[in-house]
Amino acid sequence: MEEEKTPDDGFFTREIIRNGLKWLLIISAVISLLGFLLYGIPALQEIPLSGKTITTNYNELKSDVNYKQQINLLKRDIRSLSRRYNNYTSGQSYMVINTTDNLFYLYRNKRLVRQGHCSTGSFKMLKTEEGRSWIFKTPKGKFRIHGKTVNPYWRRPDWSFVEEGLPIPPEDHYSRWEYGVLGKYALSLGDGYLIHGTLYKRFLGMPVTHGCVRLNDDDLEAVFNTLNIGSKVYIF
């Protein structure tokens, strides 16, 4: 038996194709427009500025008094700026601490003498229900060694009790003093921040401290013996 064809069959196919083409056209137009706005316009903006300054080398200009004066002035400024800039870099021993990767570098006479892992601030914010809060991060910038201590003790601050759910004792209470937790040496950076040793050596290279810089025993000894009071510590 032959299948009967209705005249509508062709009409629907044509409609589908026509609608498909219409949408394809609309989508292409939108993509082209976006492409033009996002990429074309910024590229076109560069065209008016594309002419580079053509440098010249006129001999007669070089003999001009004003020219010579300007060149000498520039040379003098560069010399003075270079001197000023080089003065910032001291020949003394200094330490560089990378808080992102938890690495330290020790320099003597501008030469790297030791490098290794350290631990820096954990970026934890400790909050209490009463609204007190502490952020445990190592400060960045230029610091100086304020003091050096052998066999340091740790005076536990308030957050150390809060963190463990303990009641905060009075300022001079015996429970605030702990010996042996900071290693053999401590170097103060001011504002309560120290470079010290640690019992948790497996955490070296990780951001786990409350803001201080922790080193292993050998590195700490080298740093203690290399840096003096006033030596610079650069933390970034």
Partner: protein
């Protein structure tokens, strides 16, 4: 009685044609305004940093194209900018496009050095030997806004336990955490510094970079669009786009303060 509007084919075509013409005219207007913006910016820079002749001893203008003079000016501009930043105790960035290095410095000491893989720069800055641009770059660029795929300070909030029974020791941080690093720093003078991750360490790094770039292109285009439809000239923002290794990008982004300073040797 309800009236029915019946469009005949020619009406519809005329309408489409009219809208197309309006659209094209708007695009032309938009393009002209956008293309004029950098010229206006250059004019403003000329007004701010251009050399003003003194009355007694006028300078021969040819000096501003003299190669020896411009080379010295280049050096002075970069040094001056770095010296100004070194006077602070803060971390700053110095970018040397001529030798493709990017350094983090504190008080004149280079604390971290990275190699730039790819550089793309606006013509206004890339001209390099331009007296006006060199004068502008003799002051440190100050960061105004940061846009990044990573957080500047990955702060984690921890509520203090009420007593010892609630106390849980800290867990060891997951150092294997991975996020692609792409960021844009907008300077106070309008310059944009894009720093994108160069290496493709994980599947999707390239896609993340492209999406980050497209998202910010949308943002700038929306800003331009808003200005153009309110009949104002768009702000032209010269750019410096750099690609550096992910680890360096992360260090640089985290080390620079929110309002950090940058020196550029173009």
């Amino acid at each position: 009685m309800e009236t029915e509007i019946v469009y005949v084919s020619s009406d519809r075509t005329a309408k489409i044609l009219a809208w197309t013409v309006v659209g094209i005219l708007f695009l032309v207007y938009y393009t002209l305004m956008s293309v004029y913006a950098p010229l206006k910016k250059m004019e403003l820079l000329k007004h701010e940093y251009g050399y003003r002749q003194g009355g007694n001893n006028p300078l021969d203008e040819r000096i501003f194209t003299d190669s020896a003079y411009l080379n010295l000016l280049h050096e002075k501009s970069f040094l001056q900018s770095r010296a100004a930043m070194a006077a602070t105790d803060s971390v700053y960035l110095s970018i040397n496009l001529s030798d493709s290095t990017i350094n983090l410095e504190i008080s004149g000491v280079t604390v971290h050095k990275a190699q730039i893989g790819r550089i793309s720069i606006s013509n206004i800055l890339g001209g390099g030997n331009n007296y006006i641009v060199l004068s502008m770059l003799s002051d440190p660029l100050i960061i105004n806004k940061n846009f990044s795929s990573i957080r500047k300070e990955p702060l984690m909030i921890k509520m203090a336990p009420r007593d010892t029974s609630e106390y849980v020791p800290d867990i060891i941080p997951d150092t294997a955490d991975y996020e692609p690093v792409n960021f844009i720093m907008e300077m106070e003078n309008g310059i944009r510094l894009h720093i994108y991750q160069e290496d493709r360490l994980k599947l999707g790094d390239g896609l993340c970079r492209s999406l980050f770039d497209i998202y910010h292109r949308f943002r700038y285009t929306a800003k331009t669009f808003l200005r153009v439809i309110t009949f104002r000239l768009p702000d032209y923002q010269p750019y410096i786009k750099l690609r550096i290794p992910r680890s360096d990008a992360k260090i640089i982004y985290r080390a620079l303060p929110d309002k950090g300073q940058i020196a550029v040797y173009s």
